[in-house]
Symmetry: C2
Subunit: 415 residues, 2 copies
């Protein structure tokens, strides 16, 4: 079966000059990938007719589906519609249902309707209108030489609405799209290159219809398996078989599988399942671990709270760290994080606790304890696990990595 | 003077398929705009040699500067370097200083170095190496037919480091860029459209050579004034004059001016200047405020610590909130945050304290206190300020907005 290729084009100076973050193209490529349409290029151009005409021509040489967003607004720098008319040798005409919609839209809000607003109902005569219930700019669907051109407003929620309600159903009808199956494997504790080394042979022996992608971020590497298939059941089995083989190689580093499983989500599910609770004592991570845990809706069911003990005084006063330990070993030491972990767990009366103490930098390091040195402890009734990490020189990354590895240590204890 | 045109190209399936959000191109277009280089197109292609070769050729027909990010990693699907060799009819050779750097990078972390890691030091022989102190993949600078090709790693902090430390200084030397003066005004507490309404007349009367840009993010709107000039002194005066006029209109919302002044930085400077200290009691913000404060190097000079009191039990036990208040008014109420703020300030013995309690959502709201309701208190010897906010339905945004507005309330007290 032929793969349907798509190109996504955003139109607008504000994206080109970096004044706003473009989230539209990510959404569009994800949603069309879900029906097996492959985005082969994304582009952004400014509100300039020649640039838009040029990229439309280029894209029409490459793909079966072109999705444009932006430039459909009422202001004078919104030139997409006129440019489409030029490209298709077409002209604008008022689309009555849309005009009705726009008119009532303004009436409802008791706002006067200007000529520019009326013009929102003007569309290229050859275009099929994608009715926009949530805004005033309609989407457009134009076909020429077997290529589908779709033009959508740039306002994210309007674009999403039209993609989900108008575009996707129509695309499913139009194209006989291949079936695609994704499986995400979330890992932590091993860098991308070490992971790649460990699974090299497995990767090289993957069947042709299964592809592997590495998606690394700080402290985390996601592995994405993608299967293109005729028969879903078979593909499911093929992927499961590969995942089993993969687990044999790197199971200690795997902490989750589905699309959006974050460490803090998986941990939350485990704690909740066992009716267990947690508290955190943070020094160098400064509240980041608590923030990650409480990102998860429902975390109040297992997270009682934290103490961010940034000063030694607070470590001593609130967590029962002994002054002599700080004096003898320093605040960034195993004896101190053990006291921090035990102290917070006792004080907040929880099943588990995490403690961190380190040198986030850029200052405060020395030859014996360089910037990036982070001690982490995970405490429970049963045991106290500790580990010393040495990260890099960037404060932001040391905080992030300390937090993620602390959660991974907790996961290993819970799992 | 001729405008320098640039094209930014991201390489990698993970962006193309929408697996990760691309923030690199936004950063790059912003930073090159600051020296007057105009981005005329942004593109993303996958890890496919022919697609990369094709877009390199296309871009070389259009622009003076091509900046690539991504595909420099150690794994099999990172093919940028080999593709550049093909494009420039070049071959890879080991760059000794980089190899030394990579080797010590691994030694420092006590990790074994693999062949794939060694290969990170292999660069096209015609390339000038942009030394990467913060990672293992060097940046590359290649010139051909008066066009500059720059290839950077896709890891955001490595890309940023190389752009700021290596690329920008070199670009300033290479190109005779127009003289540009920027002035950033940081505001919080007023939405973009309301801000625009307040300064409408001022904006319309800006002189031709001064441009205004709105850079909105959650809870913050940055206003960037850009002057293109012949005479720096005059331009400086022109901008200062406009800033003075602007301050008359929106001074209560302005909290900072220079390029990277974040709320938590400005607050830190004020506290340090006055030898004052702060502690935080967080409920709904769950550690985010503490995290923001401790992002700043040197925050240990004024930040003693926090208690994240996520459960009512902890609010009562650690912060001295009265059970009757929670029972009578609920945990999300003015009496409770006042007790939280006073409790933490007394306990940690600081000059100032912040307390937050709210309903982050998506659950837990009711008609009287909908999701997004957040109470914030700022306490000091002199006074206790409280404010109730009503944000939206998105948990993530409510946490972020609660944290930023809490810092803004502290700033207003400090300033």
């Amino acid at each position: 079966m032929k793969t349907i290729k798509a190109e996504i084009i955003t139109i607008g100076d504000e994206i080109l000059y970096g004044q706003i973050t473009d989230t539209n193209t990510q959404f569009i490529s994800q949603i069309i990938a879900s029906i097996g349409i492959k985005t082969i290029r994304k582009s952004s151009v400014g509100d300039i007719e020649n640039d838009i005409l040029r990229i439309l021509f280029e894209a029409s040489q490459r793909v079966d589906l072109i999705i444009l967003t932006g430039g459909l607004g009422p202001t004078k720098d919104d030139i997409t519609k006129h440019t489409l008319c030029k490209f298709f040798e077409d002209n604008l005409q008022i689309h009555e249902p849309t005009l009705k919609h726009v008119t009532s839209f303004f009436e409802k809000r008791g706002r006067e309707m200007l000529e520019v607003n009326k013009q929102q109902a003007a569309v290229p005569s050859k275009a099929k209108v994608l009715f926009n219930d949530v805004g005033t700019a309609p989407g457009l669907w134009i076909e020429k030489n077997k290529i589908i051109y779709i033009s959508l407003p740039g306002v994210p929620y309007e674009m999403k609405y039209l993609m989900e309600e108008r575009v996707l159903p129509q695309l499913k009808i139009q194209f006989e799209t291949p079936h695609i199956l994704h499986k995400m494997i979330h890992t932590s504790g091993l860098g991308e290159s070490f992971l790649a080394e460990k699974i090299k042979d497995w990767e090289n022996n993957l069947p042709k219809h299964i592809k592997l992608a590495y998606l690394p971020s700080l402290g985390i590497v996601k592995l994405r398996l993608t299967a293109i298939f005729e028969n879903e059941k078979v593909a499911q089995q093929d992927i499961e078989k590969q995942v089993l083989a993969l687990e044999k190689l790197i199971s200690p580093y795997i902490f989750g599988y589905d699309e959006n499983s974050k460490l803090q989500q998986v941990i939350g599910q485990l704690l909740q399942k066992n009716n267990q609770t947690i508290a955190v004592a943070e020094s160098c991570t400064g509240g980041k671990i608590s923030h990650l845990i409480t990102q998860i809706s429902g975390s109040s069911n297992y997270f009682k709270g934290s103490i961010v003990a940034y000063s030694n005084q607070i470590k001593i006063q609130e967590l029962g760290v002994s002054e002599s330990n700080i004096y003898q070993y320093g605040a960034v030491s195993e004896p101190v994080i053990v006291q921090m972990a035990k102290g917070i767990r006792k004080k907040f009366n929880t099943d588990f606790s995490i403690a961190t103490s380190g040198i986030a930098g850029p200052n405060g390091g020395n030859s014996e304890k360089p910037v990036g040195t982070v001690w982490i402890a995970v405490d429970s009734e049963k045991e106290t696990k500790t580990h010393q990490f040495t990260f890099g020189n960037l404060r932001e990354n040391n905080i992030e990595l300390g937090s993620i590895y602390a959660l991974k240590m907790l996961f290993d204890v819970l799992y």
